[in-house]
Every structure is written in C-alpha cells, then in structure tokens.
Subunit: 470 residues, 2 copies
C-alpha cells in the first residue's frame, strides 16, 4: 500500500486511544471522536471505576506501542488477595507461586491520559472530544456525531470506521438496528449490581490497609473488594443483589439499614469508610453485564473492537487487558494482510472471538469463585497446593489464574480449556483424598501430586474430546 | 378469585391458541390478536415449515386441554430416522428401543386450526385476525395493533397481556427498547439457513418413500431432511451454509449449480423433487436462530411465552412441544398461586427458564449430531447399544433422546444433564474398548454394559459437581 487509508475511530477510551496510537505508528491518518470531555482537563471519574487491574496481556500490547514504561510508573503491584472475614481476621492468598508474578492497580484516567498524549504526539492523529456518536450508516460508511458544546450534528466518513465506543457502542447498535446481515447478539446481566465507595488515605497520606493486595470481603451473597490508589486511598466496590436476599440495593435505602448491613458484614471496612452514607446514597449503582456478538465487522468498512465487541464483568481483572490484547492481535493481522481490510477483519475475528468469549465466561466463573469459593475449604486447599506446585515447578505448573493473567502467550480459550480441566482434576483429587497438603511438602511429595494432576487433567480433556465436548 | 381478569393474548399461533383455550377453560375472559389471516380460511403456509414433530411433552399439554385425541387423528407416526447415503442406500435408526415410542409428523396449520376452533367454542374467547401488534406500552399495559385490512391502529388494554407472538415478538421488543429493567437478551444465528422443498405424492396419492420415518441425508457441511404429510407428499428441508464451503446459498444461484449440487450429494432425493429449480429459487431461505431472554415478565402485567420467550432451532423436534409444555407448566403455577399474577409469573420463570435454556442447547447439539455424528462409527455403535439397552431394560435405561422426547415427566434440564453425562460415559467406554457390540447380545452381556454405563455416568456427574460444574 502506498497511500494509507483514513481511519475513523469512535471512542478515545483505553482501547480507542491505544488503537489510535498504534495505527498512527503504522502510518495511518487517524481521526478519533470521543463523547466525553478531555479527561486530562476535566475530572470525569465520578461514579465510574477509577482503578483497574493491569497485567501481562495488557503490558504486552502497551509494549508494542512503546508505552509500557510510562504505564509501569503509575502502577501499584498487588501480589495476592487479602481476604477479610467478619471478625476482621485476614488471610493472604497469593496470585502465583512464582516470583515476580503480580497484578497492578492502575488509575483508568491516568492511563487513558498517557495514551491520549502519546497518540496526539503523532501529527497524523486528531482527537475530538464532546462529540457523541449517534449512529453509523453502514451503507455510506458514515458516522453521525452530536457535539455536546454546540448541540450540532455532523456526519463524518472514514475509509474504515472502528467502533471502540465501549459496552454501549453506537456502531454495535447500528449493526443491530440496520439488519443488513444476521447479527448474533447477547446482553446478559448478573442479578447483582455494584457501587463504589472510598477508603481515604490516613492523615499522612498513607494507605490504611496493605497496598500490596487486592482486598476481598467475600460473603456468599455479596462481596466487597478494594484496590489501592497512588494517593493513599482505596477504591472500594460493593457487589450486591438488586432485589434478592435480606440485604439488597432496593432495600438498603435508609442510613440505618446501610450502617447495620456494613456493621454486621464488613465491620473492619466500615471503620475505614467515613462517608459511607453519603457515598452509598449519591454514587450510582452500576449494572454488571456481558456482551457478546458476531460478526464484528461489516464488509471492509467497519469493525467493533474492545468492550464494544465483548464487554465482560470485572471479576477476572481482564477487561482492559482483553481490550489492549485486541489491539495487539489486530496489529498482527495487519502484519499479515495489510491492504485488504475485509481479510484483516475476518482473520482477526476468526482468531479473536473464541478468546474473548472465553474470558467473558471465565469472568463469570470468577464472580462465583470470589463470592463463595475463596472461603470454601476445598478451594483453599486447592490454592495452597497450586502455590506449592508453582513454586516447586515454576516451568511446569501453571494454575488457571496464572495462565490467564501472567501467560500472555497462551490464548484465553486455551487457558480456559486447560485451566478448567486442571481445576476439576485437582478438586476431585482433593475430594477423593488422593492428594492432601501438609505445611511443609517435600519436592518428592509435590512431584507425585504434579504427576497425578497432569494425568487427570489429560484424561479429562481426552474424555471431553471423545464426547464431542470442548 | 371471584371475578376473573381480562386476558389479552398477542398471537394465535400454536402456543397462543392453546393458551387461550386453557385460560378460557379456567374461566378467564380471553381476547386474542393475530397478525396473520385466519388460516382456516386462507392458505398462509407459503415458505413456512408446514409440518412439525409432535411428541410426548406436546401431547401431555394437549391432554390437559382435552384436545389430544383431535391432534392424534392427524398425526403420522415416525418410528426412527432413515439415513440416506450418497449411493442411495438407507439405514434405519430407531428413536427408541421400547415399543410404542415414536414421534409424529403433524401439519402446523391443521393443528393450529383445531386449537383455534376449540378455543372459539368458548364464549369467553374472542379472536381477531389481521391485527399486527406494533408495540406494548409497559407503563399503561396497553398494546397497539395495526389492522392489515383498514390500516388503522387501535390500542387495547388487558389486565394481563401475554406475548405469544413468536420469535419476532413485539412484547419482547418492547422489553428491550423501553429499558424499564435490566433485560438479558440473546439472539444467536447458526451459519446455516434452511429452504423447504417438496416430494409430491405419487400418481395414486401415496408416499414415494417410507412414511414411517424421518428421512435424513447427512453430509457434514449440509443436510437434507424430509417429514411425511397426510396427502402423500413430504416436506423436505435443506440446511446449508449461507456463504461457506463449496456449495452454499449465496453461490447456488443458477439452475445448473443447484442440479449439480443435488445430483452429487442427494441423487435419490433429487429424483423425487420434480420442481426443484422453481422451488429453490422461489421459496425463501430461512434463518436458524436461538433466542433466550430474562425476565419474561414485567410486574404483574405482562408475560412472554412460547417462542417469544425462547425460540430454538428445529433439530430436536421440540420447538412446538416446548411451547405447549409452557402452557402446561403455567397452568400448574395457576393451580398454586392463582390470583397473584406476579407470583405466578415469577414461579413460572423460576421453574421453566432452566428447562427452555436446556432444550435450546440440546437443539444446537443435535444440529451437529444430525449433520456429522449419524454417519460417525462411534456414534452409530452408541446408538446400537442404546437401542439394545432400552429393549432389554425398558424400565432402567433411557437414552438422552428418550428422556427428552418420550419422558414428559423429566424436565429438559435434568434430561440434558443426565443425558450428556450418559452419552459421555458410553462414548468413552466404546472408545476405550470397555464395551463393544455384537449382533446378538445376551441379557447377561447387556447387564454388564448397563452397570458400567450407570457407574460411569454417576461418576461423571459427581466429578462435575465437585468441580462446581452442572
């Protein structure tokens, strides 16, 4: 290709801005329209999740665009989960038995700002803010934007249009409404919603609880989590049913009910959240939805990417990582088929769809695991054995969590298939008393366990294959 | 309840008319609006599937409404699949090893006519035709209908509104568009579409191939099936990819291509379809979609039922049966909670949703099974063993197919869970040479197989349970 196409990207969030940066690096003329104001000038974080988990898949994509080091500077490493019981006791559960494997708490806004600034350093990138995409005409390959400042509508054409406009994507809505092709689509909500609260820094600006952990207060029907921020505060998120059970968002309406609920279920957290009543009443309750769809592209003209193509629930800490990985995989398709957009789009979806479906399903699994299983003895024993195996055989054992989170070269779908079989093998071996843990296991003992787990995992995969299951 | 509520039913198809009949029998005042003309007066079958499979679940619901005998009179029993290979050889594969277990080919239109006529015998039932529901206002509990005769729009209120308006339900669309609550929704299309063709009766009005079978021509990437009609004809359905593979709906556009395709793949069928070119060109290509959603109801006002709540692909022959079973289950909820619609609706969905999800998934499984597995040696051996087991132990062995089709008291979800485990057990036992078939098995030999299958099935279910899987 001698002359590069004009690219129109809808959305300058995390995915859109990384995509803009990368396509600019490849020489495309890139125009980006974002509905929100420029977050480098205005604080728009109210009510949105203000920190996220960044891990190896995300870093790999940031590295491709040369911005990994900038991101690293604003990261807070979290080495494991710190589980809080009702009495205020805490239990540490590392994310990995290997050295140097941890996830990072990072500010969504600060990372987005880095990406926007890096993208704008390229003279072939133009970013417009306050311009909301209303619809995309697939026939004309033309997007209509409404300016929030002037209230005017403008139509913009692109040789290619990317919908990086998140879970509520306008491009996806146009796919659905224009009915130009059979569009498979699903939106599935959990029965639970979420609400964000804050543990502020102490008087000296320090974190009041360990900043080296992701904190969890699992209670079965509901759950509280907390991730550290650079300013010494924590963003706390309550996951709770809308209308089921003794406590739910619909009936926690009075100050008394809210306080009673927290005092009974999360007393140690309550002591650290001074403005709980105001925050509970004023912060919005967010929905937890999974979006899947197909096809992502229309002819050689438009493509859905990031949350617009596959919004997932936050329980695996992979939403941002998956969207960044989209850019990485898309870039590799450009390496192969640049010049033929239709081929690029089809090869991209062919490769990517199974993996974004997998992380969506894994994230739902983790919703149940975090709520219930972290406090379940069988699960606890499994985690202990897995930590021991990873420590003793760092090259040969990888838990499902490690495959998903720290092994960016294993596709999500593979991590899911192998990881689920491995979990099943291990849980059944423990339940059948075929493996058990003691405080100090010898390498010999662990080797026997490793062998049993590998054999059982392979047998499970083989039996599923014969039965025609994945 | 002393005064019965006014019921408004949208749709007088199979589900809507059975529901109208049953609610009338319970004493409700029922008004039904149907978008199509009265099929007892006008032939509206063009391009729609004109025969369907009726089996035990459907009959159970028809029995509740006292119309099973009328239905039986227009049934053609099909005892098994007759599989046609490319050379024109045929292989019989019974649906069950038990006596008296078979499915029935029945005309959609004739059965619908029976239900309409029976419903209209009740003076508390009024049915309007040619009135298309455009939308339902959830706030006012009011449906808007457009009359196809006068083009006028009228608004109709009901104490309770049922959306029995099929896969393209207006009530469901209103749930989606009005955004009054979090509405989980999915529409998923297969890569294949379908087209109906006809094998006419011979000159004497007789069936040209066995009328005691559902005929299948499985070819991996595509498939032809045929069900008998009372007039001696067969309705043939071709399932074929829209745009993949050597032959697909997009490239089969010339008469030559169509004939070449059939000559190569389905020569014996081609010889029986005289008008293939005209029919192929003139009959529409239908899409194969699965619809799932939740919640089905809004407050104590509206409920989705039948295909409107759960459209499924036709490969298990259960679409109509599932919709009829809806009416049966709904009726049992009325027995328990009549007078409190919200409770009835919630209890109904609580009971029913898992089962309609299950039959949707089973129908997709069968799509692959019918295309591929019926010609697969492992699968064939499994079917043979299952027939032998059902014959030898009619009270103790039930294949997945039998549980779904002939055991109306086993809910779909249970049939799926047990049936899948049993299939997996049997396929793995065969693959590992732990069981094998010979032409004549002794009861003793079969007893050993039965025991192995039962043990393995239980072990699979137990291991899944420990792993937290269903």
């Amino acid at each position: 290709m001698s002359t590069k196409d004009n690219i129109l990207i809808i959305g300058a969030g995390l995915c859109g801005s990384l995509l803009a940066l990368r396509l600019a690096q490849r020489g495309y003329k890139v125009t980006v329209y974002e509905s929100r104001p420029d977050l480098r000038k205005v604080d728009i974080s109210a009510g949105r999740s203000i920190n996220l988990a960044l891990s190896d898949r995300g870093f790999k994509a940031l590295r491709l665009a040369g911005v990994d080091k900038l991101a690293k500077e604003i990261c807070i490493p979290m080495y494991g989960r710190l589980i809080h019981d009702k009495e205020g006791n805490t239990f540490n559960s590392n994310y990995s038995g290997r050295e140097g494997e941890y996830i990072n708490s990072i500010s969504r806004g600060d990372l987005n700002a880095i990406l926007l600034t890096e993208a704008e350093k390229h003279e072939n990138v133009t970013i417009y803010f306050n311009k909301k995409c209303k619809r995309v005409s697939l026939e004309n390959n033309e997007a209509t934007f409404k300016c929030y400042t002037t209230q005017e509508e403008t139509k913009v054409k692109g040789d290619v249009i990317f919908g990086a406009d998140g879970a509520g994507s306008s491009l996806r809505k146009s796919y659905y409404l224009e009915r130009k092709f059979l569009f498979s689509y699903s939106q599935n909500y959990l029965t639970h919603g979420y609400k964000e609260l804050e543990i502020p820094a102490d008087a000296l600006g320090n974190h009041q609880i360990s900043k080296d952990h992701l904190h969890i207060w699992p209670r079965g029907d509901y759950m509280l989590i907390a991730l550290p921020n650079l300013d010494g505060s924590f963003t706390v998120t309550l996951f709770l049913s809308y209308d089921e059970g003794e406590y739910n968002f619909n009936n926690l309406t009075s100050e008394e009910a809210i306080t009673t609920f927290f005092q009974k279920e999360f007393p140690d957290a309550l002591a650290l959240i001074p403005s709980i009543k105001d925050e509970f009443v004023n912060n919005p309750t967010g929905a937890l939805g999974t979006v899947k769809c197909s096809p992502w592209s229309y002819q050689n003209k438009t493509l859905l990417i990031g949350d617009a193509a596959h919004a997932i629930v936050p329980f695996y800490g992979q939403g941002m990582n998956a969207s960044f990985e989209d850019v990485l995989v898309f870039d590799s398709m450009l390496d192969m088929y640049e010049g033929d957009w239709e081929k690029v789009f089809k090869a991209y979806e062919q490769n990517r769809k199974q993996n974004t479906d997998a992380i969506a399903d894994l994230a739902i699994d983790n919703y149940y695991e975090m709520r219930d299983h972290v406090a379940n003895p069988l699960f606890k024993e499994k985690r202990k054995i897995e930590m021991d195996l990873e420590k003793a055989f760092p090259e040969h054992y990888f838990s499902k969590y490690s495959m998903v989170t720290f092994n960016e070269n294993i596709p999500y779908a593979e991590a899911m298939n192998i990881g689920r079989a491995q979990d099943k093998a291990l849980l059944n071996l423990i339940a059948d008393d075929e493996v058990s843990t003691s405080l100090e296991m010898t390498t010999k003992e662990l080797e026997i366990i490793l062998k049993k787990v590998q054999e059982q995992t392979n047998e499970i995969l083989e039996e599923d294959k014969i039965a025609g299951l994945k």
